[in-house]
């Protein structure tokens, strides 16, 4: 019960070479306004992202991507999460510019949801709420 009351904590990160950050800054603001605790990590490698997720005991890891490679890098991230034993405890999300047909593949490898550039605050927040509730 106490767990359900706790503020949802989200780590936002990008793959190491991503140059764009408008999306991640926008989403950080949306989630903070929705009452979540946001850790804005910025660019990092998979091991660093998972390490930070463990240290910060986050409920959610959100990845922002614009420049391709999301399938390769996303798989790597979730493999590391699995190795470190947090794949099933933490909700993984991905948003940004990626081929629409990759969305099912991204969900198959373990992202609970993917968001295109037009996703609204309501869509993102409600998806996080329900996914976190299911894990708690």
């Amino acid at each position: 019960m106490a767990d359900k009351e706790k503020k949802i904590k989200v780590l936002l990160a990008q793959f190491p070479l991503e140059t764009h950050s408008r999306g991640i800054i926008t989403v950080a603001g949306m989630l903070r306004d929705a009452g979540m605790e946001v850790v804005l990590m910025g660019n990092a490698r998979s091991e660093q992202i998972i390490e930070a997720a463990i240290q910060e005991s986050v409920d959610v890891v959100g990845i922002s991507t614009y420049c391709g490679g999301e399938l390769a890098l996303g798989s790597e991230l979730l493999n590391v999460a699995k190795e470190k034993g947090i794949k099933d405890q933490v909700v993984f999300l991905l948003g940004g510019i990626f081929p629409p047909k990759d969305a099912p593949k991204l969900q198959e490898i373990g992202f609970a949801a993917t968001f295109p550039p037009s996703a609204t605050k309501e869509e993102i927040v409600s998806r996080i709420d329900s996914a976190v509730a299911a894990k708690r």
């Binding site: 190491p16 603001g29 490698r45 391709g68 081929p99």
Partner: protein
């Protein structure tokens, strides 16, 4: 010690007309005023009278209030010669050339470059065979961020959004059979460090082919605002060091490669990241001012440096604001060069610019609407007197543009040029009561923001202390809320959104992992073949130059000659300057 005057203070003192000759005579103005009051109070509806000034809310707009009607009373002191003049003459409001597009139409410079060096070489040849006169290469993310294709970070990123360049050999492949002394190349090295690393590879390519450097035409971007502020990255060097590399590059290229454009002050990406058109221009102008001050401190003549400066702007949706912005910054730049720097060469006073339509204003919903948005933005750029233009493609919210979408972008430019006749008359909106008033207001606001930056210690300082990062961060979040709340209307997204909206099937660029494998093999073979001791000595010398002073490009050039790779040079910079943490708070 004298406190240095700000640019605004200097202009206030020096940019005053020798002789003020208002266009309108006082009697006529008085008559207009009486008639205006009558009309406003009796003909105009009360609700319009009460809402006389309306602030347009647009994507990346400046939020300058607009009156319902503009008249000579909007600018009663209008002095034609002082404020407008003639095209090709001071204050250049109407354009930098007397004949503008009748002399030379705007350059249609579409970016391209996704693919391997071999594929990009084929693409360049194709474009040259089809009438292109210059090339404009996008670099892939690993190259932009200065990582080699074989570093673990480069996984999934090689050749996706541009061409990978790890070493001189890649340059040789990209430029195979291309007459680089005749075809101008715009190599989009956004940052000072990747300019310092990648451009010398081009110079070494020329050397190996026996082409003298003074024959090479082209440009690089080389803007520390891009590297320290706008981009996201896993590692940054301190902004003051980055600014120094920017200035070192300018100095080296100016001395050694006289036809090359060594800096493009990039407002575009800053604005697209999330600022108004005013901040976009104020930041680029403030960077230009600080750069020229640094060059003068190094003992160079201001005209020697300034005559090849160029700017890069983003036109968004507010049509008349975009036209007025180009006119305003052209006049402001003239005043700064004449009064602040006392330049003698008229070329130094030209605000030359490349313009790219706004990507951030494009939507994923109903992507064909983006064709219309980009066309209006491109038209604004042309009416504003841009020197060169890239029109964004309608599928950019999905992917790197398809061939079909790129062609449509080029066609958009050609239709403006050949079918609308807008290129026949110079500055066609000059003299509009509205456009002249807006031009004055925008010029004033840009200078006010330059002043704010200078009073806080200058452009390097406001980047270092996070003021600018956080100004942009707040603007990004505010704009998102305005779109979410419908205060900014976006057709098809929040305004007349189709009830049964479906995302269309859009072609998207596929990632080809085999290119990275080939690049890795090439690097492995290079490291076997080259003189590794020499490479390592050159890298050490670069590190020392970073620490001790000395122009870094002289040392990156030696590294390129010794076949050092991009990633190796990046690490030398980081080891010498140390890392800096970007001051973003949300």
């Amino acid at each position: 010690m004298d406190v240095e005057k700000t640019t605004k203070e200097i202009l206030k003192e020096k940019a005053v007309p020798e002789k003020h000759t208002p266009l309108y005579n006082p009697e006529a103005l008085k008559g207009i005023e009486q008639e205006f009051d009558r009309w406003k109070n009796t003909v105009v509806r009360e609700q319009d009278r009460e809402n006389w000034g309306v602030t347009p809310h647009t994507i990346l707009g400046s939020e300058i209030p607009r009156e319902l009607l503009y008249t000579p009373l909007s600018n009663p002191e209008f002095d034609y010669i002082e404020e407008s003049g003639f095209s090709g003459e001071k204050p250049f409001t109407r354009g930098i050339h007397p004949n503008m597009y009748r002399g030379r139409v705007f350059t249609m410079r579409q970016i391209f470059g996704a693919g391997s060096p071999e594929q990009v070489n084929q693409r360049i040849k194709f474009l040259l065979e089809h009438g292109a006169t210059g090339t404009n290469w996008a670099l892939d993310l690993a190259t932009v961020q200065m990582f080699d294709s074989d570093e673990p970070e480069a996984q999934g990123q090689v050749a996706t959004v541009g061409v990978p360049i790890d070493c001189v050999e890649d340059m040789e492949i990209i430029c195979k059979d291309i007459p680089i002394d005749k075809v101008s190349a715009s190599i989009i090295t956004h940052y000072p460090r990747n300019t310092a690393i990648v451009f010398p590879m081009y110079l070494v390519l020329a050397e190996r082919r026996g082409i003298p450097w003074d024959k090479l035409p082209g440009s690089v971007q080389n803007d520390f605002i891009m590297e320290s502020l706008v981009r996201s990255a896993s590692e940054y060097i301190p902004p003051k060091d980055d600014f120094r590399v920017q200035c070192d590059n300018i100095e080296f290229i100016r001395k050694n490669v006289p036809l090359w454009n060594y800096v493009t002050l990039n407002g575009y990406n800053l604005r697209e990241w999330g600022t108004s058109g005013i901040t976009e221009m104020a930041v680029a102008v403030a960077n230009a001012i600080e750069t020229l001050k640094d060059m003068i401190k190094r003992g160079h003549d201001v005209d020697w440096v300034a005559e090849r400066l160029a700017f890069f702007w983003a036109p968004a949706n507010d049509f008349f604001e975009e036209v007025s912005r180009l006119r305003a910054v052209r006049r402001l730049w003239y005043k700064i060069m004449r009064c602040r720097f006392e330049a003698k060469n008229p070329r130094s006073m030209w605000m030359r610019c490349h313009v790219q339509t706004s990507g951030i204003s494009l939507t994923r919903e109903e992507p064909m609407n983006n064709v219309v948005r980009a066309a209006y933005q491109a038209l604004a750029a042309v009416l504003g007197g841009a020197q060169s233009l890239h029109v964004d493609s309608y599928d950019e919210a999905y992917s790197v543009p398809s061939e079909e979408a790129s062609l449509l972008s080029l066609r958009t430019q050609q239709i403006i040029e050949a079918e609308t006749a807008v290129t026949q008359v110079v500055d066609p909106l000059g003299g509009s009561f509205y456009v002249e008033a807006l031009t004055n207001e925008i010029e004033k606001r840009i200078l006010d923001e330059v002043d704010e930056i200078e009073k806080m210690g200058g452009i390097v300082e406001v980047v270092t202390n996070g003021w600018l990062h956080n100004k942009v961060t707040r603007a990004i979040q505010r704009e998102q809320k305005m779109v979410a709340d419908g205060d900014i209307k976006v057709v098809g997204r929040n305004y007349f959104r189709a009830p049964d909206l479906k995302m269309p099937d859009v072609w998207v660029h596929e990632y080809d992992e085999s290119i990275r494998e080939a690049m890795k093999a090439k690097l492995a073979s290079l490291r076997m073949r080259r003189d590794n001791e020499k490479a390592s000595n050159c890298l050490n010398a670069l590190k020392e130059a970073c620490k001790q002073g000395g122009n870094v490009m002289e040392y990156t050039l030696e590294c390129a000659r010794a076949d050092c790779t991009e990633g190796e040079m990046r690490r030398a910079f980081v080891e010498a300057f140390g890392l800096w943490k970007t001051p973003i708070y949300v």
